[in-house]
């Protein structure tokens, strides 16, 4: 923060001082070797600036054409670009075709040829340890990662254009027949049985017993699982209890009082969490919210004694993940543990 005052609040660039020319908040992607002193690319795809000045193009990430149509940029290039059209990612071979390989130093060329072995033309900018390809590209005003178009049809994803799919656990089971989740499939090494779970939930009429949509999220005081931030006494004092936000109408129907203890019941394996009720119109009727920064209680039982000595945070509470449920992203297989259904009862 020592040079904060030197940065312009509109351009975000430092006018003078040791950070002169840099964009505020480095490290942005800075292209090339440290010797190039690239100022950073804080706004990607800014074609109004020269690539040496923090300008850029849209990366050619998905090939150069598909079904006969070019995927490269049309009528768009960054300021001062010697190529006034779209172009693919740069390799040693592309440099040769343009005749730009003569700008490489002997050392850079030797490194590229050593990496490439029998096929040096295939060495791309991302694996060129000499940084020569990036350097030569910057000299010619182009981006080593190419200049392409953004795509609206993501043809390699299960839904190339997003479509509505009901959640696995939904309060609208009547919509599941029309908007089912994706079929069960083996993804990476694992089975993703989302459809089986969704069908089972509908067949069992689960939404009748768990009529509230439970969403989880962050508090400003805590971060992530919260072990570190709940160990900070200034922050811990501001949020001393795990809680569930519940709408006044839902609270009244259940005899739940603001600040009173409740059980939040999850739809799988009889899971439950004992937390305080925060009765508020922050959440709509039929929706509840729980923060995900707490741990250290499990289904009503204090686990403080199980922490290694001196490692227990100041504030403990139920983990929302106790009541969240099955679900995996079909592309990354990442667990979707943020939203589910629940029931709430006064404890």
């Amino acid at each position: 923060m020592a040079n904060q005052g030197a940065f312009d609040i509109v351009t975000l660039r430092a006018a003078d001082g040791p950070a002169k020319g840099d964009y505020y908040g480095l490290p942005w992607p800075c292209w090339g070797t440290p010797e190039i002193k690239h100022p950073g690319t804080h706004t990607l795809y800014n074609t109004n600036l020269h690539v040496k000045d923090g300008g850029g193009t849209f990366r050619a990430r998905f090939g150069v054409d598909r079904e006969g149509e070019s995927l490269l940029a049309y009528n768009s290039w960054s300021k001062g670009s010697e190529i006034t059209s779209g172009y693919p990612e740069f390799t040693y071979g592309v440099l040769k075709q343009l005749g730009w390989d003569k700008d490489l130093t002997g050392k850079e060329r030797a490194t590229i040829e050593k990496i490439g072995g029998a096929a040096p033309d295939g060495v791309g900018w991302a694996v060129d340890l000499s940084g020569g390809i990036i350097r030569v590209c910057l000299e010619h005003g182009v981006m080593a990662y190419g200049n392409a178009k953004a795509r609206a049809i993501a043809w390699n994803l299960p839904d190339p254009v997003p479509v509505h799919r009901e959640p696995i656990y939904t309060i609208r089971p009547d919509l599941v027949a029309k908007y089912p989740t994706l079929p069960d499939a083996r993804q990476f090494r694992m089975l993703n049985a989302g459809l089986t779970h969704q069908k089972s939930a509908v067949d069992r009429g689960l939404a009748k017993d768990f009529p509230i949509v439970l969403t989880s999220g962050r508090l400003v005081e805590y971060e992530g699982g919260g072990e570190e931030t709940r160990s900070n006494r200034w922050l811990a004092e501001l949020q001393q209890d795990m809680f569930v936000e519940i709408n006044p109408a839902d609270a009244a129907a259940r005899g739940v009082q603001d600040g009173g203890w409740v059980w939040v019941l999850g739809p799988e394996d009889g899971s439950k969490a004992r937390v305080k009720a925060l009765v508020t119109e922050r959440v709509g009727k039929g929706v509840a919210f729980m923060p995900f920064h707490f741990a250290g209680y499990f289904q009503g039982v204090d686990q403080r004694g199980n922490y290694p000595k001196g490692a227990d945070p100041i504030v403990l509470g139920e983990s929302v993940n106790t009541v969240t449920t099955y679900g995996y992203d079909p592309v990354t297989n990442m667990h979707e543990g943020k939203v589910t259904l629940c029931q709430i009862r006064a404890a």
């Binding site: 400003v220 005081e221 006494r233 200034w234 922050l235 004092e237 501001l238 508020t280 119109e281 922050r282 959440v283």
Partner: protein, 198 residues
Amino acid sequence: MARVKFLCDADRCIECNACVTACKNEHEVPWGINRRRVVTINDGKPGERSVSMACMHCTDAPCAAVCPVNCFQTTADGIVLHSKELCIGCGYCFYACPFGAPQYPKVTNFGSRGKMDKCTYCAGGPDDKPGKAEYERYGANRLAEGKLPICAEMCSTKALLAGDGEIIAQIYKERVLKRGYGSGAWGWQTAYRETVAL
């Protein structure tokens, strides 16, 4: 000499509690004592507003008027300081204060009050020279170092302003003119017997 004030722009406060945390950290304020806090009204409803509140360092401070031991004094900058040498923890100032600023540590199991603690505008205490003894009793003395209160310095949206009352009122006026609305300088009429004319 300038008359320093606090101004909380309730149209900007996002209830992040950075002011509260910065204050507690700067002055090592114990658990349960809040020199500054953020109050939210109409929570979850249209028109929800949050205001960061601490001692406003009032003109003709009502706490000083009721103090039986005359522990309050107003500095040349308009900061209301109190002497923990003299304070007897009677709690009268808590009843007099329109902002709920005075805080009292519990010193016995019977709930008797210790010496009052409140915001010092980061100006330390009235009795001591800046140093360890003053820090332990009153917290940091940033003013002596030429710095403004940490709460306003740390405010993430610059909702909370501290400094020369005329300058911060001017900043607030310019903001309101530019954005076209303003719910007013909360607490100014009560604390300073004037408001920011818009």
